[in-house]
Symmetry: C2
């Protein structure tokens, strides 16, 4: 049913674009109630307006903590216009109806970002605003709630189209947005409390996002999709796209995977190549171009159409190299000007500056149908003191460094994961197999195909223990000389003796790194 | 700072266990304010209590829609006890302090589940309750908020321990829970609106869960983890565990994957085996035991330690078969009594009845660091009218049915996916490879290892098109006679002619099924 707007209450933190709606409200002779900064803005724009305190007859108190939390306001919003008892009570109390509520909140993420003062942050938790929003959203049968300035044009249009009235459909739709906002707002607050108190697994957990981008489609063309973000400074994903086609669902999936891996190299110059959410080439080296070349050499066929992430600035030499390959996305900490010009020659290549990207979360979420698994991120690689050097031959200090590199990569490869490395570069990655032996085979096949000479004296890392000796045997037979794995199999002894027989070195970490 | 509790306001939907806290409050001479059903319960329990309307001097109106939305209540909660201006204003208005607020809401999911009447559902959206909860939670410096009856013992203990007072730490911790609740509550409401209005990608999206179970650990032993649920009428996950060790993170991950696959067989008797979140054996057959045997035969080595899901009742014969294997979890739509007794002989085997489990969600979520991708689920297999029979030889009607089976499985295998089937059972699955040729090789290796004779005349399905002819060639050379794939490669012509040369059949579906 259409409802005439006679009285509107406006209380907005963001004063922009108010004139759009005031003009229309004025045209239809809508009475306006407001307070504080909004009241001043409305007056300045030249419109008539009644102060909330004058309206309720109750002077606002406690520095504004209590002003709209008043029966006259909330009965005005909540009464059912078609309920005789309700309308009689309203008449008796001399409470008029409020038909339109326009409220937005001071963005909580801004105050968290800008203030280190808990008292100030808490002071900014809005109580009166959300109450009006929720009351109006509940009573959409009679009342219209607007919570976003981007809806002002639609609002004006709705009122004009319906000659001063609003439709039930529009009111209900706006209610859905309003509860979306209050849920989001309280999620931010709850999250802030949980972080402050270091509560990782609260009684109730909400994961919240605002729609940042409608994507062309999802994982496949017949699936609709959108990207949601919940960062604190409202600035976006931290990914600054400088050129190329729009990022797709699968791009984002691979991008976030590659950034997760890249973030594990805090001090090293690194290149990470990801395809289908698995790394297919990772290398660290003092020289960016060497790191780039070595990452690519691991599996140049799979890198085709992949995502490349570099934690360094791309120069002309690398740009020229890049342009010879077909890749979907290049992520880097900046691009030299001439390098950028070269890369932009490829119209489709998505060029993304990740300088502003920051890893934040300490937990990861896997969502299913009506449930989700929340867990601490897998942050550790291993603890050096817990390493067990189980073979007769022990690794050197330099080898130990590469053992750490290799075991770290295995963390990011889908289980079962086997990673072969040589000179701090992957030379074979076996991912996502239900049997560990299969992952060994795949890793070896890759290495044989592209860099057979590097298998000799390479390092193999395994994300979990070997249940049988067969995988270890296949690695050692092919030339692998160092194996790092958690250990813990009932066949450990047999496995170690296989390594000893071949004079190979084996290290147990005591840490498993399943990743699915 | 410790705060003395002089006055408490209690308004609870769930009246259970009130006596726990009333006894303590009475001991410390705390004045109690309440209304409606809570007021009656408190009186019945023999404690003194003031009605909200008597306290505020404002008679509740609109069938209780407006009763606590009153300045006397909210100033009582919100004023800063250490702020001189605030205390002066309170004195002037003759508003006393409210020091403890105990509020819980009528569980919104219950009313959604029990009522089909939108009006009734909307009437149950609580406005006054969340406002008091939020106000008290904001002012934890002075006020204690309790929102869950499970906290009554802690509350009584806190008051006893501190001789009628409460500590800042306790108050702040309770605030974090309170905002967790309001965020969760409004998320449920927003979600209900979005479902009603068929809004899949709202402006703001919150994913909400209550902690259902602390898990022993996460994906790996050094990661803490919990399972959260948001559904099923508060009854849990719909998974009824009848025996065995506690379900682990990785169990749940594989369980939900297997249930997703199982749900795709609406009319067929099916067995699904999952390991490391990938299927490693799927079979449909009129006979449960044949379906079970065939699923197992696909990769008996990988099935070791896997999750088995059956959409039928387990009988004695299957139970005896099962007990000869090492598996982690058996899921089934019921277990015959003697079958259950047999399975229970294996103390560690997790036995789960899935009769009550229901698939619900239309969207899927992939969460990253501060963002998430929301997309429609990949529901379709293909549209029969869109199939293109691109080779000279065309499939028969029966073959077309198995083509559908094979392509459906490819949907659930991590990309790039190649699935070989024979007689409506997988005989080789190549999963999670960055190159399609590698997935072909893996699928063929599996089939050669375990059921080589079945490769001849088998069907191969591919989740995305073949970029080169090499993969198709490898399949056909090994004996595959039908290939189903989306088509769309620039080398389609070359690929089709490879199939034609071998007199094989190929079908293009026009639908891709990436899954990561």
């Amino acid at each position: 049913m259409k409802q005439k707007i006679k009285t509107a209450l406006i209380s907005v933190s963001d004063k922009e674009n108010l004139s759009i709606i005031l003009k229309t409200l004025n045209k239809y002779k809508v009475k306006i109630i407001s307070s504080g900064g909004t009241y001043k803005s409305i007056k300045q724009l030249g419109y008539h307006c009644t102060e909330v305190s004058a309206y309720t007859g109750f002077k606002e108190m406690l520095d504004g903590r209590v002003k709209t939390l008043h029966p006259k306001i909330h009965a005005g919003i909540l009464h059912d216009r078609s309920n005789k008892k309700h309308t009689q009570e309203m008449t008796k109390q001399k409470f008029p109806s409020l038909d339109l509520i326009i409220v937005n909140f001071y963005p909580f993420q801004k105050i968290i970002t800008n203030s280190k003062n808990d008292k100030e942050i808490i002071e900014n938790i809005d109580i009166g605003g959300p109450t009006m929003v929720r009351a109006a959203a509940k009573n959409f049968k009679n009342v219209l709630i607007v919570t976003n300035k981007s809806d002002y044009y639609d609002l004006a249009n709705e009122i004009e189209k319906n000659n001063g009235k609003t439709t039930l459909n529009f009111r209900e739709y706006m209610s859905s947005k309003a509860f979306g906002l209050t849920a989001y707002y309280d999620s931010m607050i709850a999250n802030w409390f949980n972080q402050k108190l270091n509560i990782k697994f609260p009684e109730r957990k909400t994961i919240f996002g605002r729609r940042f981008k409608k994507l062309r489609y999802g994982e496949n063309p017949h699936q609709k999709s959108s990207l949601y973000i919940n960062d604190y400074n409202d600035k976006g994903t931290g990914l600054d796209q400088l050129g190329g086609k729009d990022l797709s669902y699968n791009n984002y999936n691979d991008i976030f995977t590659s950034l997760e891996i890249l973030a594990s190299f805090k001090k090293n110059t690194a290149t990470v190549i990801v395809k289908h959410a698995n790394p297919c080439g990772v290398s660290i080296n003092k020289s960016p171009i060497v790191s780039f070349n070595n990452a690519f050499a691991c599996d140049p066929i799979s890198a085709f159409g992949g995502v490349i992430a570099c934690n360094f600035k791309i120069n002309k030499v690398i740009a020229l190299k890049l342009n010879k390959k077909f890749i979907e996305v290049i992520l880097a900490k900046g691009f030299e000007k001439d390098a950028l010009n070269i890369l932009k020659q490829k119209k489709n290549l998505r060029i993304v500056d990740i300088s502003k990207y920051k890893q934040k979360k300490q937990t990861s979420i896997k969502a299913f149908d009506g449930s989700f698994l929340l867990q601490e991120k897998d942050k550790s690689i291993f603890n050096k003191r817990d390493l067990k050097f189980v073979t007769k031959n022990k690794p050197t200090l330099l080898e130990l460094k590469e053992i750490e590199f290799a075991f770290n990569i295995a963390k990011y490869v889908k289980s079962n994961a086997i990673v072969l490395t040589n000179n701090f570069s992957t030379i074979g990655i076996g991912a996502g197999q239900p049997s560990r032996l299969d992952s060994c085979k795949i890793a070896l096949q890759k290495a044989k195909l592209f860099q057979a000479s590097k298998i000799k004296n390479s390092i193999a890392s395994s994300d979990a223990f070997f249940p049988f000796a067969d995988g270890v045997l296949s690695l050692i037979s092919a030339g692998v000389r160092i194996i790092v794995q958690p250990g813990g199999s009932i066949r450990d002894q047999e496995i170690v003796s296989v390594a000893n027989k071949a004079k190979a070195k084996m290290v147990f970490t005591g840490v498993r790194h399943f990743n699915h």
